[in-house]
Each structure stands twice: as C-alpha cells, then as structure tokens.
C-alpha cells in the first residue's frame, strides 16, 4: 500500500527526468533569490544554466552548516516574509542556532513525505497515530503530526514526557502507530512492562516510526519485540526539512529517500568527489521543491551509502543505508575509515563486555596501533584466565572481520575508563601528526 503510488513507484527514468526538471527550477530559484548562492556559484564559476543533467550538479559548490549559521537568521530565505508559514530552529548547542523557514507548500510536501512512512508501517486513514516527539522548534513533533494529518489519521499529539500517561493513552485510545525517538520508545516499552502490561499483546500498536537519534540493531530488535511492532527508521534533518527525508519500508533494508523532493549524493569526505551507488561516504542533499530555504548540495556530515537495488516493497526511490556515523567522528586507521559506532555495534554483541570502552590510537613508525580498552560486566567470572583470554580473542576476531583492521584488546579495571556525565570520551588519539 502506498500513500502516493504514482510518485512512490514512478519508473526510474521518469523519476530522474522529474528530478532534473525540479533541480533546474530549484537551483535557479536559489540563485535568483539568495545572495549566498549568487556569490558561491560565481566563485565556483558556475551558473544555473550549466545544469543540463543530474551529473552536472557535481560542479556546483557545497553548502555547509557553518554557512547556515553565518546566514542567521534569514540570509538563506528565498521568499518574502509574508510567504513564510513557519520557522523551525536547531538547538544551537554546538554553536549559533540555525533557523529554517517553510512556506505553506513546503509544509504540505513535508506532511506528504512523512505520510509515506505511515503507509510503510501499514497505516491508513483508519489509523491512530500517537506523536510522542517533542513539539516545538524541534522538527520531530510537528513533522510527524503533519504526516498523520496528511494521511487522515486520528492524531494524538502527546508530545514527549509524562510516560505513564502516554502509556495509558496508548492503551485506552488504541494507538496503532507510535512516532518518537528510539530511546523514548524503549522507555515507553519498559515502563509499560513495569506497569504490568505486555505491550506486544495488550496494546493495539503495530508500527513505530522512530528517528532523530542513532539506534543500534540490538536496540531496534528490543523495541520490535517488546512492543510487537514493525520498525520504521525515519531520517531527516531540520536544515533539509525534518523527519521524512527518508523512511524505512517493511523490507527493513534501508530507507527510501523521497527522491521527488530531494536529490541525494554520496561524496568522498576527503576529496568531496561524488561516489558511485553502494559506496560509503558523506550524504549530500539538494532540495528539489523547497521554496523558502532551497539547499544546493548541503553536506549533512552523515555517513551512509546509497542502495540502488530494486526494493521488494515496489517503491522505486533509491534507499540510503543506516547512518553509520558522522564525518566528524570518522577515524582513518591504517587507511581504513572506521566509525566508533561500528566498534560499539560489535561490543553490544558481547554480553560479557560492559558498555564503556575507550579506543587508544598510537603510531610507532608508519603503522597505526589500535588498542581497545574494555571492561567485563560486574558479574563476569574473571577468575578463569583462560576464559578471559578466549573472550579477548573472540572480540578481536569479531572486530577484525567487521572493521578489516587488527585491534589489540585490553581488559581493564572498571576505574580505568573515564565515566562522564555528558558525552563520554571514547577516542584517545595519541598518533603523531594527526592531532587537529
């Protein structure tokens, strides 16, 4: 079942043609109305008219987050204020906040994009969707809300918080679809279980649409089992739109990008050259229909790959794989790109190992040395040295096969790995010549 069958299953060739037409409009629109693009295009020696094919986009310059900060507040708006229907803003915890505006048409397209995901988890106008994302400047709440309204669902705007009441409503109002962050979905599931419910059996909920933060596969599986639901991973970022830029269908093998609305590229984070489908690199978006804040080649810093293979769900829009990390976090070890999240992924597969870990990078001569410091869980029977050695060997073997690099495992005392209130320091790079 599709929300917009004509668009979602459009033959690839027709879709590329649509993308090119819309891209030509969008790039021209940006150029005509935003000073930033006029000067950045000029600097790169390109003009909107140079865009004759989708491949030509590669000669256009990028937009980065800092450009948006510099343009604060309205520098990247391409429409007069009377046409701005809503303004969202990023939190600005890591610097100057960025604001993004939407016209009424932008908001409608946004609702449609998210609505496709509601159909992906089996929803329809018959469904009740509970939106437990925060409402406000954050795009999660209102984005999911717009999706629910576009489909014609009954929308319950609970927002986040007051978990027990959430659960009561979920049960009493017969929520079919829950939209929130993965960590909040897990908290809801665990709290419901604590309250004596078995949400998988007692609740009607059959689908979840979760995003805005990373979730490991084991966490996803945990949520699926505890709530008894189909899991739809939703990707989005406020700079580009909000949740709904890409959504995961029932095939659970990647997220369909709304390709009628966005053009996705993967570029090599070092050379910034586009990479062929299937290769991992930085995700770059060009908006195709946005009126208020058109973006030409926005570097997301998110690392993924494009899955171009036909999908069993019948949708023709290409998919992106799960986000494996951020280019800011990427480590280059012996020439191999490694993300801390990949290491974490391996560690969660070992119940004997505690979640805290630290990676120490050193280099003796030309070769990098990677040491992974881990702790055993408190009740691990470490008395038998043979078992500890065997555990180390198994972990090293698993890392080797996942990351293609040899890692020395060091089991350490619990006090060794620094605990921190906020973000833990996972990487200690002591390599010469690599410190920024």
């Amino acid at each position: 079942m599709y929300f917009q069958p004509d668009i979602e299953t459009m033959p690839a060739e027709q879709l590329r043609q649509l993308q090119l037409e819309r891209m030509q409009w969008s790039v021209q629109h940006a150029y005509d109305n935003v000073e930033f693009y006029r000067s950045s295009f000029k600097e790169a020696g390109v003009e909107p008219g140079d865009l004759k094919s989708l491949d030509d986009l590669a000669s256009f310059p990028f937009v980065v987050k800092q450009d948006m900060r510099d343009a604060y507040p309205f520098g990247l708006f391409a429409v007069p204020q009377k046409d701005v229907a809503r303004i969202h803003a990023s939190s600005g915890t890591t610097g100057q906040a960025t604001v993004v505006g939407h016209t009424a048409s932008d908001l409608k397209n946004w609702g449609d994009c998210f609505a496709r995901g509601i159909y992906m988890v089996g929803g329809s106008a018959e469904s009740t969707i509970q939106v437990s994302y925060g409402y406000g400047l954050f795009t999660g709440g209102l984005g999911a809300h717009a999706g629910g309204e576009a489909v014609g669902c009954s929308v319950i705007p609970t927002s986040s918080g007051n978990t027990k009441r959430q659960i009561q409503m979920m049960k009493d109002l017969g929520t079919d679809i829950l939209a929130c962050t993965p960590s909040y979905a897990l908290l809801i599931a665990d709290t419901a279980i604590e309250m004596g419910f078995d949400p998988a059996k007692d609740f009607k909920v059959s689908g979840v649409i979760l995003g805005a933060e990373p979730a490991s596969e084991s966490m996803r599986q945990d949520i699926r089992e505890k709530l008894g639901v189909q899991y739809c991973d939703v990707y989005g970022l406020s700079e580009v739109m909000g949740p709904g830029v890409a959504m995961e269908c029932a095939a659970a093998n990647g997220l369909h990008v709304a390709e009628d609305q966005f053009f996705a590229e993967i570029v090599d984070p070092d050379t910034l050259k586009p990479l062929p489908d299937g290769e991992w690199g930085e995700l770059v978006f060009t908006t195709l229909t946005r009126e208020c804040c058109p973006l030409v080649r926005y570097r997301t810093r998110d690392v993924t790959r494009i899955i171009a293979e036909e999908c069993s769900c019948g949708r023709t829009h290409r998919k992106i794989d799960r986000i494996v990390g951020r280019t800011d976090d990427m480590l280059i070890i012996r020439g191999v790109n490694v993300f801390p999240s990949q290491i974490e992924q391996v560690i969660v597969g070992f119940p004997e190992i505690a979640a805290q870990y630290q990676i120490i990078l050193t280099n003796k001569g030309p070769l990098d040395r990677v040491e992974l410091q881990v702790e055993t869980v408190p009740d691990y029977p470490f008395d038998e040295i043979r078992k500890l050695e065997e555990l180390k060997a198994r972990l090293a073997g698993e890392l080797k096969s996942n990351l293609q690099i040899a890692v020395d495992i060091k089991i350490v005392e619990p006090k060794t790995i620094e605990r921190s209130e906020g973000k833990a320091k996972r990487i200690v790079d002591l390599r010469e010549g690599t410190q920024a």
Partner: protein, 141 residues
C-alpha cells in the same frame, strides 16, 4: 566448597598494593595470596577472614572483585600428600583449572583446587580425604 576472593588487576604499578590496602583498611586479615599474571593483567586469588566483606571493600575501591567457589583439602604434611589427592581426581576424571598449596603447620597443608566438578567433594570425604569447611578457613559472614 570454600569461597576464594578473586581480584582483577591491571599490570600497573601499585595496583596490588592498593588492593591489599583496601582490604587492610577494612580490618580484614589475609592468610594466603596467589598471583596469576598475563601480558596485560593479573588475577590475585586470596584467602582472608571475611571474603564477603572483602569483596564489598574492593568494589567500593573501584576493583573488579568476586568470590569463586574452590575446593580446599587438608592433606598430611609429608611427601606424596598432594600426589595422592591428584591421583584421586585423575581416577574420577575431574579436571583441575588451577591450584596451589600452603602449609599450615608441621602437621598438615591445605591444597586449594579449582575443579571442573563440584560434586567431587562428597566422594573425597568417602575416600578418606578431608575437605576443608568454610568456617575452618575464615569467618562465615
């Protein structure tokens, strides 16, 4: 079976000393300590007055500490005391993970063994050996 205190130690200067200090500060006396070491960590196996309290004290001090059930056997302090015991295990197909012995006095020694099959303790007694009860070694707390 008796409870042995096991402490995980990084191969780092002063870690054993500070573990012993943590035990001492809780007023716990040790009667035996054995170290096993590998390239990057060591494991200290300890007999002390109150193993449960020692585990608490060490955990509070940030150590990984645990109690491990081991078999203690009192053997006569003469040539062949240990050999007789090991032959008995061999005959009963019981594997030994690790072991150590300490002489208590002129009369007897205690052999401590981590065995694969805990149920061997009863058979030992039937065969005339003398397994050590917890209260002979430490205060049961």
């Amino acid at each position: 079976m008796i409870s042995q205190l096991t402490v995980f130690l990084e191969n780092e200067k002063g870690r054993l000393a500070s573990a012993c200090r943590a035990i001492a500060d809780s007023g716990i006396n040790m009667s035996a300590l054995f170290l096993a070491d590998t390239a990057d960590f060591g494991v200290a196996r300890i007999f002390c007055d109150t193993p449960e309290a020692a585990v608490e004290a060490l955990r509070d001090a940030g150590y990984r500490a645990t109690l491990t059930p081991v078999l203690g056997v009192r053997v006569p302090n003469r040539p062949g005391g240990l050999a007789d015991l090991l032959e008995f295990f061999n005959e009963h197909d019981v594997n030994i993970e690790y072991g150590y012995c300490f002489s208590v006095n002129q009369e007897y020694a205690i052999d401590v063994l981590k065995v694969s099959d805990h149920s061997i303790e009863d058979a030992l007694e039937d065969a005339g050996f003398t397994p050590v009860a917890p209260e002979e070694i430490y205060h049961v707390d």
